[in-house]
């Protein structure tokens, strides 16, 4: 997660003068990954802003929130429905809303549905963590699916990633032991050297 944006969107390539990013975090695991990602983006000198409307009660996730707050990362109290405001304020959106949890059709619960409704209309690039939020399992996508520019698969690409047609697909989460890879028939990822991200 930490290296995903800089490779796809190096600081010097951003269109806005300020390296602003919107990080939309859902209520569960995918959202927590988003919080950690935001913190590392901040240490890489980006200016992330987090939208985290429904907070996980998990103590670990609450600590992630505190860590972000203590890094002076702002938390939006609401997401503008006026999409132009988002397009104007940020260079890209990090989608950490539902991830793989959403493939079973949980997008309907608020506030995720509202976030996704807005994300469908943004013009700035979307970077999705693990699975584009709202994408359901199955070989064919829905017409209302968000179209991320960048997908960062975590640990291993998920089935729905086969439908990804965006610009860059990365693999991250270099922690899967070889024994586990063999057990699940995962092909060995070719991470270069000591990098924790590889472009697929």
């Amino acid at each position: 997660s930490p290296s995903l944006s800089p490779q796809a969107f190096p600081l010097r390539s951003l269109r806005r003068r300020q390296p602003t990013l919107l990080v939309a975090c859902g209520p569960a695991q995918n959202g927590a990954v988003g919080l950690v990602c935001a913190r590392h983006l901040r240490s890489f000198d980006y200016e992330p802003t987090i939208f985290y409307p429904k907070r996980s009660p998990d103590p670990l996730h609450r600590d992630f929130t505190t860590q972000c707050e203590k890094m002076d990362i702002p938390f939006l109290s609401y997401l503008p429905t006026e999409v132009q405001l988002i397009d104007d304020a940020y260079n890209a959106v990090v989608d950490a809303v539902l991830g793989a949890e959403g493939t079973q059709g949980t997008e309907g619960t608020e506030p995720c549905a509202a976030i996704l409704a807005t994300l469908r209309h943004v013009r700035i690039p979307i970077v999705s963590l693990d699975v584009p939020s709202g994408w359901l399992a199955g070989p064919v996508g829905g017409s209302g699916d968000i179209s991320p520019d960048v997908l960062v698969s975590l640990a291993a690409p998920k089935e729905v990633a086969r439908r990804f047609r965006g610009r860059r697909h990365f693999l991250a989460g270099r922690f899967v032991p070889e024994e586990l890879r063999r057990k699940f028939g995962l092909s060995p990822p070719e991470y270069p050297g000591s990098d924790c991200v590889v472009a697929l």
């Binding site: 800089p6 240490s43 600590d63 860590q67 203590k70 032991p177 024994e179 000591s194």
Partner: protein
């Protein structure tokens, strides 16, 4: 030399403790205070910071001693882990070294019975990282079998006398000729004053910020790791950390 490595160009840094713009070298109490603040004020967990620290160490090692530079038939590394958090950093480092294509072996004689350390040990074992039942009796055996030793015995909390078995281990390591990479503090050194007749590692990976002992370090490679210090904390302690390159988790100081 069992590990012939490419020389690295040193980055320019201001001289240590030279004033407000110089990189600061911390005293022991300061280092402990910063650590405590990261946990109590910033709510980092030990697991989080240990993982980032261990990853930094493995990354620095990969930069200075790439697998291709080893003259042993495999890039074999001996990781010696002490009884505390420095040992934990070593376990994390060993696991990432395995991921990076090295063949680490761990020696971990004194294991705290806490879930954190038990978990880290299990993670290593499940990656097929062997744990030696005994420390190699002679320095020559270490030189024969390994191209690098990682010293993860004592860190910045170390005070007082060295308890066994670590006294004997350090005596042996002092006679080893393959490079030694120390995590945070060369083990056995006073955290502020160093130890002229002690371990002389080839590499030091300072975590968070260098400690005063690092001013006595004469090895080839000094890296900074532990890229997790929030800007507000850096300012509070005037750490004056140089900029890490891009998204790297390590910075080569010399």
């Amino acid at each position: 030399e069992r590990c012939r490595c490419l020389p690295r160009r040193a980055m320019h840094v201001p001289s240590p403790g030279a004033g407000p713009t110089g990189l600061r070298f911390l005293g022991q109490e300061e280092a402990q205070a910063i650590d405590q603040e990261l946990f109590t004020e910033y709510k980092f967990s030990v697991d989080q910071l240990m993982e980032l620290a261990g990853l930094s160490c493995a990354t620095a090692i990969a930069k200075a001693y790439p697998p291709s530079s080893f003259t042993t038939s495999q890039p074999a590394v001996l990781v010696v882990c002490g009884p505390g958090n420095n040992g934990g950093d070593g376990l994390v480092c060993a696991r990432h070294l395995k991921m990076f294509g090295y063949q680490p072996t761990v020696y971990y004689p004194k294991r705290p019975s806490k879930p954190l350390f038990e978990g880290l040990t299990t993670q290593c074992k499940k990656m097929d990282i062997p744990f030696l039942p005994e420390f190699p009796a002679e320095a020559e055996f270490i030189d024969e079998l390994y191209g690098l030793v990682v010293d993860a015995i004592f860190g910045f909390s170390f005070t007082g006398a060295v308890r066994e078995p670590f006294g004997s281990i350090l005596s042996t390591l002092e006679r080893v000729t393959v490079p030694i990479a120390s995590i945070d503090i060369p083990s056995g050194w006073d955290v502020e004053k160093g130890k002229a007749d002690g371990l002389q590692p080839d590499m030091l990976i300072s975590l968070t910020a260098p400690k005063k002992a690092a001013m006595h370090f004469t090895g080839r490679y000094h890296f900074l790791g532990g890229r997790f210090v929030p800007p507000a904390l850096q300012e509070k302690y005037s750490l004056n950390l140089p900029e890490y390159p891009g998204t790297d988790c390590v910075l080569q100081l010399t």
